[in-house]
Each structure stands twice: as C-alpha cells, then as structure tokens.
C-alpha cells in the first residue's frame, strides 16, 4: 500500500509503457488511411518490436540505432512526398517521430511529452477527414492517452488493462457538457489567421473542363457531394438535374467552361419555381450546383451569364445555401449575337461526325426538332452500350466513339451529341452537374453523391430557348430514372451491391446530421445561434461573454460536486428523524442541542397517552445507539418498523 518514492529519475513501469504503446498504435491506426502502406507497416513493426524489447528487458534503445532511424524516416518522407512541409508529409513525419519517441521513452517526462504529442497527432488526423465515425475513433484514442497519464501517478490500486481505460472514459463523459458548450461558443474565425487552409488538398467534384473519360474517378467515388431539401414535394427523379458548369468551348479533346466575367445573366421566363436548400460538402472549388436554372443567388456568390452560380471564395468548408430555381422555363429565347459561340467546333477534327450532322440538316431542312430526334434515335438503336470502362478513343474522339467503339457513359454521349448538333447547325452546349440522388424518406432530403455526377446537353430551339436533352437517357434510361448506381449495373465492385448501398443511403441521415450540426457549424451559423432568443446577430464579444459566463456556471456546478461530502448513511438516525417529523406535527419540535433522551422524555410528557410507547422507543434507541459500535441489524429493523407504525394520537387537552 505504501511505497517510498525513489529520489532519482523515476523509471516507468510496464503498465504505463503498455498504455503508451497502445496510444501510439491508435495514432498510427487513425493516420494509416493517408500514410503510404509501407510506412505504416514499418512503423507498426517498429512499435511492436520496441514493445517486445521493453517487456523483455527494461532498457533504452542505443543511440547508434536511433539516429539512423531518424535520418531514414526523414529521407523516406522526402522521397515519398518530395518535401517535409505540408499536410501529408507533415503528418507522416509527425507519426514517424512519435513512434521513434517511444524508442527513447524511459522517464516520466518522456511519457508526458509522448502523450501530449500523441494528442496533437490525434487531432491532426481529423484534418484529413472529419466524418462522424473518424471523429469517434479519434476521440476513443484519447482514452489510452488519459490512462497513460493516470498510470504515471504513484501508489494506486492495480487494475487490469481494460479497466485502466474506464476512468478516462468517465472523465470524458463528465467533461462532455462543458466540451459541447465550448464547441458552441468558441468564436469561429471568419478568415483564417494564416495560409490558405487545405490549399494542397486535391480538389474533388466537378471540374470546369470535361473530356470524355475524365469522370471515371468521380463516378466511382460514392462519398456524399451535397444534400438537398425542398420546400414542398421534391421534383420527380427524372427532373433532378443539378447544373454546375455550362461548357461552350470544344477543342477536339475536351469541353471547357469559360468564366464570362460580370455579364448579366441571360433572359429567363420562369413558369414554375421550386425553393430548396443545398448543403454542399467542401469541394475546394467556387462553383455552386443549382437545381436546373436558378432564379436568384445565395449571399457571397454571383450568377454568371449562363446561370452558373459562382461563390466569391472556394468552398473549403461545408456550405448551406437557399435558392429558388425554375423547373419549367424559357431560357434565352433570343440568342442574338451569341449564336456563333454555341456553334464553335475545332477545325480538322471528327470529319465523319460533322458529315453526319450535315447530312441530317440536309434531310430535315429547318426542322431542328427532327434532327434532335434522329440523333437520339441513333444512340438508342445504333448499338450503343453504357459502360464505366469504355475503350480508349483516338484523335478523332467523337468519330471513334460514334462509329467504332460505341461504348461509354454520360460524358461520351453528351459530348458526341453536342458535336453532332453543332455540325447540323443547331446551337448546343454541354452541361455538367449532378443528376438523380437518393431520397431519404426519414430525413426528407435528397442525398447526392459524387458518383451522381452527370453530363448532358442543351440545344437551342427557336421559340423554346435552351432545351435540355440527355442523350445518356436514350441509351440507358435507368441512369436518369434510377440513378448512377442502377445504370452501372453489374460493373460495380462487390461492396456496392444493392442492399449495402441501400443501407448506406439510409445510414446517411446520421452523416447528414453530423455534417450539418457539427461540421457545418461555421461562423455564420454561430452568429445566428441566439436567434430563438431574439438576438439576430451574436457577435464575437457576446460569444466571449457567453462562453465566460457559462464556463463559470459549469465550474460552479463542478465545484458543488467537488465540495459535496458524501454522508455515510445512518439508518438509525434516519429513523429518529422520521419520529421527530411525526412528533413535530403535534408541535413537539426537537430543539437544537437537545439530546434524544431529553427530547423523547419531553415528548412522552406531552403525550401522556403514548408515554409507555415513547419510553420504549427511547430506550431501544439509546440501546442501539450507545450499546454497540454498529447497531445490530435485527433490532435496528424492528426499531425502524416500530417508528413507521407509530401514530401520534390526538392530544386531549
């Protein structure tokens, strides 16, 4: 029970080292997804070896081994990433250093440094992805860290390893309310203090240019792209087209969007409008997808000429915006001088396709609609196949696709269709965005994944303006009516089969809640925090005050807990209190500093009818209280029953 502390540098015991190794292992695990496989494996081996070595003989690793390892690690990171700065190389180096730190851990101070560093590394893991499950796993990583710090303390009862983790959990759970409050009230930065956060992160989602085959990576990425909720009924599946880019220019291999500066949006006659809210996950791009043709723009964003909505800044955090869009409309009924722009084709590419377009024009004269029908009929009946892994195309890509390979997905179809239309002299363009999505019944929102990315065409018909034509639908109607997953058919990997996908779609409601409530809680939402209490704009000073006040309240509650002394339960005293309460009803109140003997004698005198009863109770009480160290159980029970049964008779005066 007692142990004199050694005055020399105290070495740590095996339990502490085990817990520290566990902490490090968890750090390695949460960082594993973005570390190169070989680095993870090497570090894991090193960790395991060090643990085994420390168990066998409590010694440090000699310096001749540590220094080359350190050099090797730095070299490996530089070879892998080309630099040691930045998010990926930085975290790889940090995790590596952490594991190397374990090699020289021998004293209490080393352990504390290691644990602090591990906490930091755990937090750094969240910079790579802040999903709910990832956050939970990282938070669990705090438990062995706290347990390690606890194990450093001397003189404590020994427990098993899993039990050693429990107090940390209890502490964290007790701290959760304060943590949540701080999370709500810590003022967010509206602009970052340094750097451009996550500038080195690869952009995901749609890009401003499109070449057939480029989407493939996007189409197999089924992470959520955005969640849309509608005021009223959601549009039917075949009308869920979310426009991002309108692409005019074709250079023979790819289509590209050209920002048209601050020209006003083209004329739009809306017949039917839908109001909806989009919760967009970070894309690190500026474009904001909108349902069909937007009627207005969210704050801090502008609408371009072709009704493309561009935010003022890149979307580096989750963004929620509310919009109105037209679903039945006449867009740009009068093309005017811009007509040539929508007929642009590169010279010297795709001769057979151009010939096909011209042939249709000659056959139908000025009937543009008939040409469109012919083109769709070609896709439908020409032996075309929908596949996510099409054969590669040569220089005359559209010729190869239309007359040779005849397989591809939305990009190929929309691209070929638009080229055909332009060849026939019909103004046409490619539009990219998302189509479809999963309607989550429970959460009343539409989940749009990155794999729902889509490309389609718009043709300009006289009198009707721009009309959407989705040539992919001609080949594979399921793509439009049931979504990307159904269209891909059996080409999906095994883990994306129907019921797992269904399960994931339903589970997404939890992710949605997390993304909206936690990840998307930004400076803007924080300012609106007090709206229910009538304060529309909560500024930083108010937030600071609120934080200070509520932290004080929490500290007061904590102090109340800390100061509360647990009174040991004393059934005998409780029984006497009950008797006192009963007698107090008749006005016989026990005075302060009045002993039980005096008090009960007084009561007996005041209640002559129950004198004998009270005298008996008194003698039993005195016997129980003073004849034994601990009142014996049986007589105590009898006394409590007697007190319970005691009824104060009415006093006849």
């Amino acid at each position: 029970m007692t142990a004199p502390e050694k005055p020399a540098v105290p070495s740590i015991d095996t339990r502490t080292f085990d817990l520290l190794s566990l902490t490090m292992a968890l750090v390695l695990i949460v960082h594993a997804p973005h570390l190169p496989m070989w680095l993870t494996a090497t570090l894991a081996l090193l960790l395991g070896w060090r643990w085994w070595q420390r168990r066998r003989q409590a010694s440090l690793v000699p310096a001749w081994l540590k220094l080359p390892l350190l050099a090797l690690l730095t070299l490996a990171v530089i070879v892998q990433y080309g630099s040691i700065f930045g998010r990926e190389p930085g975290s790889a180096l940090a995790v590596g250093l952490l594991i190397l730190k374990l090699l020289e851990t021998g004293s209490v101070r080393d352990v504390r440094v290691g644990v602090s560093f591990a906490c930091f590394a755990l937090m750094a893991a969240l910079l790579f992805g802040q999903g709910m499950v990832a956050t939970m796993v990282v938070a669990l990583g705090l438990l062995p860290a706290l347990a390690t710090l606890r194990a450093l303390e001397p003189a404590q009862p020994s427990t098993s390893l899993p039990r050693a983790l429990a107090p940390g959990l209890a502490l964290s759970v007790a701290a959760l309310p304060l943590a949540l409050l701080a999370f709500l009230l810590v003022p967010r930065l509206s602009t970052p203090l340094w750097g451009s956060p996550l500038a080195d992160q690869a952009s995901t989602g749609l890009s401003s240019s499109m070449s057939p085959g480029a989407f493939t990576e996007l189409l197999i990425d089924d992470s959520p792209a955005m969640r849309v909720s509608f005021d009223g009924e959601p549009p039917p599946p075949d009308q869920r087209y979310f426009r991002a880019f309108v692409m005019a220019r074709y250079d023979g291999t790819s289509w590209s969007y050209r920002d048209t500066g601050n020209q006003p949006p083209t004329a739009l006659e809306a017949e039917h409008a839908v109001r909806y809210r989009i919760h967009l996950l970070p894309t690190h791009r500026r474009v904001l997808p909108t349902l069909d043709v937007p009627l207005d723009t969210p704050p801090h964003a502008r609408m371009r000429r072709d009704h493309v909505v561009m935010a003022d800044r890149r979307v580096n955090g989750a963004l929620t915006y509310e919009l109105r869009s037209a679903t039945r409309y006449r867009l740009e009924p009068d093309l005017g001088r811009h007509q040539r722009r929508w007929l642009q084709l590169p010279d010297g590419f795709n001769p057979r396709t151009l010939a096909q377009g011209r042939e249709w024009r000659e056959r139908h004269g000025s009937d543009d609609a008939a040409i469109v029908r012919d083109a769709l009929a070609l896709f439908h009946d020409g032996g075309f196949r929908y596949t996510l892994v099409p054969a590669p195309l040569g220089r005359d890509a559209m010729d190869d696709f239309l007359f040779d390979t005849r397989e591809g997905f939305c990009e190929h179809y929309s691209s070929a269709f638009t080229v055909l239309m332009r060849a026939a002299g019909i103004p046409a363009r490619v539009v990219t965005g998302y189509q479809g999505g999963f309607w989550n019944q429970l959460g009343n929102y539409l989940l749009v994944r990155n794999s729902d990315a889509h490309a389609w065409s718009e043709v300009w018909l006289a009198g009707r303006g721009w009309v959407r034509v989705d040539p992919t639908g001609a080949v594979r109607p399921e793509r439009v009516s049931q979504g990307a997953a159904a269209a891909a058919g059996d080409q999906r990997p095994w883990y994306r089969n129907d019921w797992i996908q269904g399960l994931r779609n339903r589970w997404d409601i939890v992710n949605q809640w997390w993304d909206k409530g936690v990840i998307g809680f930004d400076a803007l939402r924080q300012r609106g925090l007090l709206t229910p209490f009538g304060i529309r704009d909560t500024d930083t000073t108010t937030l600071g005050w609120l934080l200070a006040i509520s932290c004080s309240l929490f500290m007061a509650a904590g102090l109340a807990w800390a100061l509360s002394r647990r009174q040991p339960r004393d059934p005998l005293r409780d029984a006497l209190r009950e008797l006192e309460r009963k007698l107090a009803h008749k006005g016989i109140v026990r005075r302060p500093a009045e002993g039980p003997r005096h008090y009960l004698s007084r009561a007996a005198r005041a209640l002559p009818g129950q004198r004998s009863e009270l005298a008996a109770l008194m003698s039993i009480y005195l016997e129980l209280r003073y004849a034994h160290d601990e009142p014996p159980t049986e007589p105590l029970r009898a006394f409590r029953k007697a007190v319970r049964d005691f009824r104060v008779a009415n006093v006849v005066k």
């Binding site: 004199p4 969240l126 303390e153 999370f183």
Partner: protein, 317 residues
C-alpha cells in the same frame, strides 16, 4: 529561474500565512477542509494548456469542427481533472501520529494514521525533502511510515507536513500544509565508548548462592535435612524420602546507574554515558536502576523499563 521561484514562494508565505507554512500548529485529528486545499497547475499542466491552445488555434484556423470538438473535449477533461485532484484531498483525515524511538542523529519513524471514507490514490506526503506516496482504500485506516531526521535529544516538535497529490492526470497539483501540534521525544545519543559502570559494593554478596523461597527441585533425603523440608506427599509415592530443594535461580547483578557517580563530566557527557550504560544493560538483559537528579527509577528490566530510563535521560534539562 529556480531562485526567482523560491523568492516568489517566500513572498507568498509572508503575505499569505494561511496559504502556506506559517499555519499555526493544530491538534490532531486534522481533517482537510476545502479552505485549506490549494491547487495550481503543474509544469506539465502549463505545457499541456499551451498544447491545447495550439490545437484550438489550429482547429479554428483550418475551420475544422471535428478537431475543435476533440480539443474542447480534451480541455474540458483536463479542467475536470482539477476537481478530481481537489476531491482527492478534500475530507482526508490525519487522525494520529505515532512516533517510534530514535536516538539523536538517527531518523525517527513516524507512523501517520490516515482515514478517509472514500478510496483515494496517489496521496503524497512531504516531510523535509522526503516524499512518500500512499493509497487509501476508503475503509481501513492507512498507516504511512515516514522518517523524521533528528539532531538533539529532548522534545522535538513535529515539522510541517505537506500533503499533496497530482492525481489523476498530473496536470494539477493540490496541496495542503499540516502542522500537527505534537512533539516527539528524541533519546540522547550514547557515547561511543567509555568505562563500564562501577560494580556496587554489595555486588559480591549478591553473587553468592542464595536460598530463596521458591520450590526448585526434589532430591533424595540426606541426613541432616530439616524435617520440614521433606516432601511428604511426594515421598508417599516413592520408596525413599524426598526433600524439597529451595533455591533461587542465579540472578544477574543489578547495575545501579547513578548520576552522582559521574562527577567531573559536564551534563551532556554524563547523559551520553548513562545512555550507553542503559543500552548495554538492556542488551545484557540485565536489571538496572537509574538515579537522576529529579527522577529515581528503581531497578527493572525489559523494553518498557529501557524506554522509561531513556525518556528520563532525554528530558533532563
């Protein structure tokens, strides 16, 4: 840096006597009350809060709410550990201190009896520059043994004890000063070597065989034995007469240790010599008496007698 800290500590002790060492001695039992428990972050705690701050700024800068949540959780858990540290000391009771025996210069063993109605871990007690860590299981009284350095004989008041804990995470240090109003008696240090006590005049007489009153043995009758020594009852069961032999076992000589014999020595030397004689007599399991100017201890033996003599020597002016 250390010098500055020491100065700061001295200043605090001058200004805030209730906070630190100038607390008046008080009688046992001492229960640690909230008003006498103080908490400051440890060095590690300060470093850890800097780390938390860095994490906070990082999470805010990268607009990463999950990281912010994690930081808040860690920060709140650290803050809660302060309350746990406080509660680890609050209500702890030092019920009594038992002092062992030690001669001046030797460490004296103190046994602290600590009580608590809840389990407590990693309670540390500082006495001088020694630290002891104990855990309390919340039911039985826990005894912690500490060594108190001693320098001179006589009553020595107990020094202040610092009772502290950095439980559970080592981030905060809760402490309280205890100054029990109790003194311990330190025995005089015996001299290294010196003459043995002078044997008293009647020692030779005492060494002669000596007829006592106790029945020691039965032996065969020899002519001339007085008839009243015959053991009639025992003889009835034997063929010949048996005689009771009354003899007292050989006694050790009693040392009469006397202050007055040691003229010509100064007080401390007299005490040191007497202490050595008392120790030697105790080692020989002999009987001895002690004459001191203000206390005369009759002859006796055994540890209690030894302690009585040493106490008397220790308290001499």
């Amino acid at each position: 840096m250390r010098g500055l800290l020491r100065q700061l500590q001295q200043w605090a002790e001058r200004r805030l006597p209730a906070l630190t060492r100038h607390r008046q001695p008080e009688s046992l039992p001492i229960t640690l009350h909230r008003r006498r428990i103080y908490i400051v972050p440890t060095g590690f705690g300060l470093g850890f809060s800097v780390l938390l701050l860095v994490m906070l700024v990082g999470a805010l800068n990268y607009n990463n709410n999950a990281a912010l949540l994690l930081t808040c959780l860690l920060g709140a858990a650290s803050a809660a550990s302060m309350l746990v540290a406080f509660r680890n000391l609050d209500g702890l009771r030092l019920s009594r201190i038992q002092a062992g025996h030690a001669t001046a210069g030797q460490p004296l063993e103190l046994t602290l009896a600590l009580d608590s109605d809840s389990p407590r871990s990693a309670i540390r007690i500082d006495l001088g520059d020694r630290t002891l860590a104990v855990a309390l299981d919340g039911t039985a009284t826990t005894r912690a043994k500490l060594a108190l350095p001693t320098t001179q004989r006589g009553w020595q008041p107990l020094p202040r004890l610092r009772i502290w804990s950095t439980w559970p995470l080592g981030l905060f240090r809760a402490w309280s000063w205890l100054h029990p109003e109790q003194s311990v008696l330190v025995w005089p240090q015996p001299e290294e070597a010196g003459p043995p006590p002078r044997a008293p005049a009647e020692a030779a007489q005492q060494l002669r065989p000596h007829h006592g009153d106790e029945l020691a043995s039965l032996r065969d009758y020899r002519a001339g034995d007085p008839p009243r020594h015959v053991a009639w009852k025992a003889s009835a069961r034997h063929d010949n007469l048996l005689v009771k032999g009354f003899e007292q076992p050989q006694r050790q000589p009693q040392w009469q240790l006397d202050w007055r014999q040691l003229d010509g020595l100064h007080n401390e030397a007299r005490i040191a010599r007497l202490a050595r004689w008392v120790d030697e007599a105790q080692l020989r399991h002999g009987s001895y008496s002690l004459w001191l100017p203000d206390e005369q201890i009759p002859g006796g033996s055994g540890p209690l007698h030894h302690a009585r003599c040493m106490n008397a020597l220790a308290t001499l002016p």
